[in-house]
Amino acid sequence: MKIGVFICHCGENISRTVDCPRVAHFAEGLPGVEYSIDYKYMCSDPGQKLIKDAIREHKLDAIVVGSCSPNMHERTFRNAAVSAGINPFLVEIANLREHCSWVHDDVEAATEKAIELVRMAIEKVKRDKPLTKIRVPVTKRVLVIGGGIAGIQAALDIANAGYEVVLVEREPSIGGHMSQLSETFPTLDCSQCILTPRMVEVYQHPKIKLLTYSEVVKVEGFIGNFKATIKKKARHINEDLCSGCGLCITKCPTKKKSYNSFEENLAFRPAVYVPFPQAVPNIPVIDETVCMYYKNGKCGMCVKVCDRGAIDFEQKDTMLVADIGAIIVATGYKLYNIEKATPESKYKGYGEYGYGKYRDVIDGLQFERIASASGPTAGEIKRPSDGKEPKKIVFIQCVGSRDPSKGISYCSKICCMYTAKQAMLYKHKVHDGEAYVFYMDIRAGGKMYDEFVRRAIEEDHVKYIRGRVSKIHEENGKYIVKGEDTIAGMPVEIDADMVVLATAMIPQDNAPKLAQTIGIPYDKHGFYNEAHPKLRPVESTTAGVFLAGACQSPKDIPESVAMASATASKAIILFASDTLEREPVVAKVNEDLCAGCFYCKKVCPFGAIEVRDIKDVNGIIYKEVAYINQGVCQGCGTCTATCLSKSIELAGFNNEEIFAEIAAL
């Protein structure tokens, strides 16, 4: 085998601390090295030409480049090698810059280390095997999980590009949290007015299959070739027959048995309901837990009034399976539960604010419903306890957020803005009212955002107090808000009629469970991890799974929409070709030696390992061995280290190659 060694000076980034000519000279003397040279910029056009010429001239079989990190230029050098006729996997990089010249001062020590690194790379490349990229077919259909604004946007973008979309929403209607909002910052346009046309578009789009009241329960497969199992929960209404007239809802005698979750528990809903009037699809759901029919088999009023016979008490959950090429996760957020702490809860409560105990201490989403024209008070600001108009209202920001002692260290990002908006809405509706905001810092980065907060302060005279609130208690029908004004350096007490807590955004309760179902990592809070915080912000580390909206971290509407469109374009890029090229770094089992203990199957994070039967001449199974699906394998090598008989090898990082590296020390 003839090996070429190319040592790059990287201008003087490497050569300042590594004696490059000495390294090249040393390499020249090593067995197997045919050609060795150093050069100022190996990645430049002349540098690449130098490599290509040397390969041709000296008939090299493999090359080692001593340069910057493989994360920078491995691809460059591989391409150069390929154009000169060498397999790209017979190229090894010795990281002489990030791992050597930049981190050491002493020329002697750095040069010696560089020599060792080059020597290790040479030994590895000697054992490298030529590999060819793997091609797998692509199913051109996207699964979008979550029908909030992010999911809606992603689904529409993809469908408009001509690809099929399966949009799965857990609730009976799409729309998500955005459909609950009154008006949006910083323009104060009506949330539903801008959202509902998009919801209808989703419903009517021929390329979108909308599955509401459904959940993804299982995901198998890999990029381009996922198989998703979706549970469609029983609505007890036949969707094909229902015309959405709503008669069943108005006639249902069970009116006040369960809270209306869309109204954030500020109102009740009947046993048969649609979440809100503009729901898409406009098909009701029967709540089994309160419906009289399921209690005692009587009633059936809805059956009597439905002239289309759409009520179906016997309807069962059904399972649907879909072939999917890419998955967009857009499951959104929920609000931090600020009630009392329990020993099991991850977060500590805010007992001092009396949420849950005092009916007029509410959270941000509840205020949205109160301020919303379609809400329980028809948009009039009234307190939940007695329906009176609050004349003094206190908003508290950062409830939970930025408070590690309560379990949340991050900033929820949108609370500064929506608190300003809510205070403004209050002032617009209650002209003689007083609004106070307790804040830690105002974080209003964004187009027209700071101007918006200034408007709340300057034009609408919302009183901003910089400081925390220590306690809220009720006294003679007033809520005494005790806090500190840190700018004045004084304790303050406000006797408010109502208090709104801007509680932290946290991931949905089942976020970790869904992550495990799909196989994507999540952080300690339960937010999904992006593949790279800067360069791959909308991709998960699992190929073919993309992230949109607040399931990744707290986000406002424009950011969620931008992210959604980004994921849509990622999916469309994937669908641009019929097959998909993958790095051939995958594991392979030696079936002759495999003892069939299947520890590899247990450890494989991707379910890439299957059981393969080996039969004798009579067709009787005499051995079961592991078989690795090359399309599913992601090449981590956990199976290789787990295999006791060393019957699995990871291409590109096989044990012989690693032993050679160790031996070269």
């Binding site: 009392k340 702490a341 500590k348 409560g349 805010y350 007992g351 001092e352 105990k357 306690k471 208690h473 009720e474 006294e475 003679n476 005494i480």
Partner: protein, 299 residues
Amino acid sequence: MKPLTGGNMRFGYYPGCSQISSAKEYDLSLKKVIGNLGVSLDELDDWSCCGATSGHVTNHKLANGLAMRNIMLADHQGLDNIVAPCAACYNRLILSQYETFNHPEIKSEIEELLSTKFEKDIGIFNVLELFMKIGLGKIVENRKRELSNLNVACYYGCLLVRPADITKFDDAEEPTSMERIVEATGAKTVDWNHKVECCGAAHSIARRDIVVDLSKKIIDDAIAHGANVMVVACPMCHTNLDMRQRTMKKVYPGHKEFPVLYLTELVGLSLGMNEKELGIDLHYIDFKYDDNIIKNTVA
């Protein structure tokens, strides 16, 4: 919290300075009540100051040293736990032990200071935890009368449940364990606002004006929510809320006397003991449980 089983009902007892002076009745009633429930307390031999004086704000090492000395004594006496009825003692002991076991440098410093090795984590209990460990069923079983005409405001004060990460037995802002104990006596509890508010104990001597203001607010809130008696589990709180009512009357003309009992005294009353036995007669504000209004005597 699960009640302990019969065999483990051995508790170490760290009285602290208040129990033998200003809060004699707390000590008296505690021992009586616990004895009545079939549990005895082993007082630590040669116990000393817990460091809850100005000690802990002026000298960290001294504060930890003082507290850990008592914990060392418990270990030497073969005890697994200490009951510290005073909230300040409880807080000092549990915090010092936490710091010692979680900071190796503090541990070695204190070990050197006391010439000992700390290996065993001693359980530090306040009176609420003590009742929980004994089991509320025991109180109900042994109840001689039902105090159903008492509307009790349970006052925890600042130290008993804080810091919640370390005391680990109730919510720091909305605690309810005392209510459960009080309800076991048959008395009613009121939902009120100031159960963990500051009574001003740190300023008890030097700034009586602050104490009177703060304590007045607490008492007024209890009355406003329908309480006819307050129950505490800390000698400092009791001093401020009981003794300082005399000053309160001068500062706030029209202040009506409001009885403040120790939790142990209330439990004692339900177990059928009289005011004298429990030392309730030693309080500044008189309290007499009116037998005439006892309607349901439990056999």
